[in-house]
């Protein structure tokens, strides 16, 4: 009997010790859910050296981030980076984020206009849920030697580049084409009936265009390989893809469409059941320092909301940016407003229809 008691005590002691070690390890860990390029190895290493906090990085995209957090009701990660337009809707529908304590963040590190815009777009019930990190645009990546006439989304479907164009079959393509057809989908966000009408018109023209489309690309690498082999000469894509290709082939670059590039801002949010907010705030304040932010720009290819980081960015990227974005093209950017809950069901049905056609 005494033996057994002893054994039980020993086992529970070991158990308690393991749990203590485990939770101690957890306390000094930051689980970051982000996009590839937003947490380069050297930045992570520097953060770990300065703070002693281990960073566990998971690469993802908007839909996956929201799905992951929804599946666990906001657990499993301490910091996530969805786009600022995908915060209000999912928060209203699934309650997967928690409000940000702005007093924990050094707001002087941010470009004021971007910070204010993001705060405004991510406010639910008077509380702020997001601060900006990296921004960029979607538009056209064009091989100017072979498809120099492509200046707007609609030009992809003018028939002269049949079999040589590509796009990603997600919501940006619907919105880009709506603008290109002279409509304003963002203004119709609040009116589902009108928005549906716009979507139907866009679907009609995209279905007619499908025969010209070489492939609907899924990942950035896939698009880059099909453009660099010449299989695709014009595509709807992210700016950074165009600049990456420009490094190898000066004919290829990103072109801001005449109806306006689509501007996105990837932001920082705290998952509702994140366990290490302190580390999350430390990470935000760390990566928003100009030198660090410039490193992230170098890895991701997009500029950040960090005040003064431009000074540390490589001249090549700056030249590429200026080439793609003359001042009027910057003023012409259509920034994504928050997506109201339920709108994506409508878009989903239209995207399914396009995918199934032909």
């Amino acid at each position: 009997m005494r033996n057994e008691l002893l054994r039980t005590a020993a086992v529970s002691a070991v158990l308690v010790a393991t749990m203590a070690v485990f939770s101690a390890a957890q306390a000094a860990e930051l689980r970051l859910l982000t996009w590839s390029g937003y947490a380069p190895d050297d930045v992570v290493a520097q953060f770990e050296a300065e703070t002693g906090i281990d960073v566990e990085v998971t690469f993802s995209n908007n839909e996956e981030m929201i799905s992951k957090l929804r599946a666990t009701r906001g657990a499993g990660f301490d910091l996530a980076q969805p786009s600022q337009d995908r915060i209000e809707g999912p928060q209203v529908e699934f309650e997967i984020y928690k409000p940000i304590d702005l007093s924990q963040i050094d707001t002087s590190l941010f470009i004021p206009s971007l910070l204010e815009a993001t705060k405004g777009n991510t406010t639910v019930d008077g509380q702020v849920y997001g601060v900006p990190h990296v921004w960029g645009t979607s538009g056209l990546v064009v091989d100017r030697a072979n498809a120099g006439d492509v200046a707007d989304y609609g030009d992809l479907c003018n028939g002269s580049h049949a079999g040589k164009v590509s796009m990603r079959l997600k919501r940006p393509v619907l919105i880009g084409f709506a603008f290109s057809m002279g409509m304003d989908p963002f203004a119709a966000y609040s009116d589902p009936a009108e928005y549906e009408q716009i979507l139907n018109k866009v679907a009609e023209s995209l279905i007619a265009c499908k025969a010209d489309v070489k492939a609907f690309w899924e990942g950035g690498d896939q698009l880059i390989s099909s453009i660099s082999t010449g299989e695709v000469t014009a595509a709807m894509a992210w700016d950074t893809g165009g600049w990456k290709l420009n490094n190898e082939n000066p004919d290829v670059t990103f072109v801001a469409p005449s109806s306006g590039a689509l501007g996105w801002v990837d932001s920082f949010v705290l998952p509702a059941r994140g366990e290490n907010d302190e580390a999350a705030y430390k990470w935000i304040n760390f990566v928003m320092q100009p030198e660090i932010a410039a490193k992230i720009t170098g890895a991701a290819g997009n500029f950040t909301a960090s005040q003064g980081a431009d000074a540390f960015v490589s001249d090549t990227l700056k030249a590429q940016f200026n080439d793609s974005f003359p001042q009027e093209a910057i003023d012409n950017i259509n920034w994504y407003p928050p997506v109201p809950a339920g709108l994506e069901d409508l878009e989903g049905r239209v995207l399914d229809r396009i995918r199934a056609s032909g």
Binding site: L169, K170, T229, E344, D352
Partner: protein
Amino acid sequence: MSVAALPSEGAGRAGLRLSLILLLAPALLWLGLLIILPHIQLLALSLKVKLGPRLYETGLTNYTEFFAESIYWSTLIRTAFISIAATALTLLIAFPVAYYIAKMIRGRRKNLLFVLALLPFWVSELIRTLGWIIILRETGLISLGLQWLGLIDQPVELLGNDAAILVGLVYTSMLFMVVPLVTVLDSLDDTLVEAGYDLGGNGFAVLREIIIPHAMPGIVAGCIIVFMLTLGNILTPALLGGKNSLWFTDQIFQKFIVRFNWEQGAAFGFLLLIVSSLVVWIGLKITRQSLASTMT
């Protein structure tokens, strides 16, 4: 005497029952926790109808929408038909291969051939499919080869159609057909085949009357495995089918991950389960096999 014997016998039986329960426990836990419980949850989810943010009611809307929207049911039918075609094609290709391995050769060469059939499965399905992309794409091996030979003067795109999907699916499921076929053909007594010829049968008659009836359990087992794998495949159709790849599992993935519509995704998952069970059941009825006979 008998009074004293009874309790001990009862204890022995209880002990036996306990050990039986313990033996079965892993399998039962596996079934219960990983298969039955999630399916019940999925069923409950599929019956929830979204009215607005955080507002749900119980109903069949997720199922009726499947039948109302032609895209959805036509995709499911298409997926089932291509899967059946892929299964038939796999059987056609795998049967001679399996027969050769099981009956025509002996010893080391037999093992060597078996390993060769297994070899492609040492790399992941993703890599194998990417290999096919390199071969079939416009700037790929076949297109360049044909141009080099002067047979065509323009690059040809071989990706993005149903044939490419079929090629990928057949290649991916080959092994799962070959293995059960080799096993079952191995057990066929050679003298039976000889007797068939001695009695005046030609090659076709022997195949039809002796070899296929004997191999039937293996054929059915292989077909069930290949059909299930193909129907549930998501990677190969997406990568090789390109812009025209419509696969039902992809629809389910889209519903769950991209559209955040778990309720409809769950309903679609159930419909897929029903269709696959139905096809397997019909297949068993036609071949007059039972699940039990194919598994032994």
